[in-house]
């Protein structure tokens, strides 16, 4: 069994923290991700991950927690996209591109200042690619609270979200305030991105937001099933990534673990490929 699960995995406190944090982040990302895919907002989701990096690197600079930075950055980015993007998808894409450029520039500045003026080591690695095993256990409660809030908001808006995803015109005809739904969803998506950045770093957090969701919608025909499958894939891939990263300590000659984010992204991409194959096959039958 040791070839599969290295000794100490179940008794390690950092592993416990990593498993809990990743489960929360993966669940929120999976649920929000399904609607991100339905609404064709994968680009906006990816851009928010870069804005989260700005927040994360800025937080380190001022001595705040990375979680606070990731969430603040992503939510501020979502607000900027909502304000500048107007009402149509094209305007939103243009605004997203501009916000993305500005955020990337600020990230470069903050990371440079972090590296040259901060006493903290490995900041760039931690912000961009994550460092789940060094996560502070005290972040579990705020992560859980923010994650639950995002899930409750998604649950409350689920019906208007679905209809606006299918047809904005039909939704408006039903009296749904489409602009309000868009803003609320952008804020929820930013929250999911901020949580995901904790697990896989800001650069790779799109993997948890988009990967399990798009895999799930490819192989299911019901929204409820897509949500369950996306959650199972997201949590499963995160936990498998943590396990493989933990095991990799014994694989490398210098006894250094490989990054969790690498394994999470690889397992997410594999699950996407399998689900796409499965879904295509099922539709042919």
């Amino acid at each position: 069994m040791h070839w599969l699960i290295a000794p100490g995995f179940f008794t390690s406190a950092p592993v416990h923290t990593a498993l809990v944090l990743s489960a929360i982040a993966a669940t929120v990302c999976a649920v929000v991700g399904v609607f991100t895919v339905l609404r064709g907002m994968a680009f906006a989701g990816h851009a928010l991950t870069d804005v989260a990096a700005t927040g994360g690197s800025g937080a380190v600079l001022v001595g705040a927690s990375p979680l606070t930075g990731f969430l603040t950055g992503a939510v501020a980015g979502a607000g900027a996209v909502a304000v500048a993007g107007g009402r149509d998808a094209r305007g939103r894409d243009v605004a997203t591109g501009i916000v993305l450029s500005l955020a990337t520039g600020l990230s470069a500045l903050f990371l440079y200042l972090d590296a040259t003026t901060s006493s903290a080591t490995g900041v760039t690695q931690r912000v961009l690619f994550g460092s789940l095993f060094s996560a502070d256990p005290s972040t579990v409660l705020p992560t859980l609270s923010v994650g639950l809030l995002a899930l409750v908001v998604t649950g409350l808006t689920v019906r208007p979200l679905v209809l606006t995803s299918l047809s904005v015109e039909l939704a408006r005809a039903r009296g749904i305030r489409v602009g309000l739904v868009n803003v609320v969803f952008l804020a929820t998506m930013a929250t999911a991105v901020g949580l995901s950045a904790l697990v896989s770093g800001s650069l790779l957090s799109t993997a948890l937001l988009i990967g399990p969701a798009v895999a799930a919608v490819r192989c299911t025909t019901r929204l409820s099933h897509a949500l369950v499958v996306a959650t199972a894939l997201g949590v499963g891939c995160s936990w498998l990534g943590i396990l493989l990263s933990y095991d990799s300590y014994n694989w490398m000659p210098n006894n250094q673990s490989l990054p969790v984010s690498f394994f999470v992204v690889v397992t997410v991409v594999l699950s996407y490929a399998i689900c796409t194959w499965w879904g295509t096959r099922a539709r042919r039958v």
Partner: protein, 270 residues
Amino acid sequence: MQPEILSVEHLTVALRGRVILDDVSFVIRRGEFTGLIGSNGVGKTTLLRALLGLESPHSGVITIDGAPRGRSHAAIGYVPQKIALDADVPLRVRDFVALGLDAERWGLPRRTAAHRARVREVLEAVGATHLADQRLSALSGGEQQRVFIAHALVRRPAILLLDEPLANLDPRNVQEIVALLHRLAREHDVAILLSAHEMNALLPVMDRVIYLTGGHCASGPTNEVVQTDVLSALYGHHVDVVQVHGRVFVIAEPNEATDNLPEHPTLTVH
């Protein structure tokens, strides 16, 4: 005579400073099939959007089932011109139709036995029972149109507005959808207002026509409106109305302004 379900009086709508609808008036009664006819760009969609409360009139009054038009009205069912569905949308036909019951409400949907029975009933009414468990995005154009109609009907509206529902269908599907809507109007006592740029497919079933051009309209029973004198007055110049093998052709004189002309074959320019 059936009671009025929709009354439009002296409606004027302007978009970005341009008058699209100018002093338009008509009534629609329960169970009537009404065609909203006009070429592309004459304001059919604007009129439907005004009826839906999505455009604010510059002047005029819209009354639905005896009450002034509000932002949202359960008495209206709507089928938009286009719903572009991604192939991966994980939504079954029965779930999409059920969404028509309460899509604007907050919170998780709780489907009761009565909800499920209503969905079954309306799917049966549009001849789509066999599609209930299929992925919505996997259906053909004609099948999707039936499902969109079911979605609009599930709340038992008194009037159903359809924006160019025949535009992308082949002739067989056009006939089937028109026959379906005619049957629904009769059996479910629902008024149908269907916009189209071509009226021939609707001639066998239309009780009433609203003929729109240049921002103005003529409305009434089809055989009274589609007449040379009525349409000539509406266009502001002479046009001929000719019937050939049960099809109607509206023919303009040579050298007349063509800005407001409907598309072939409703209007043929010689």
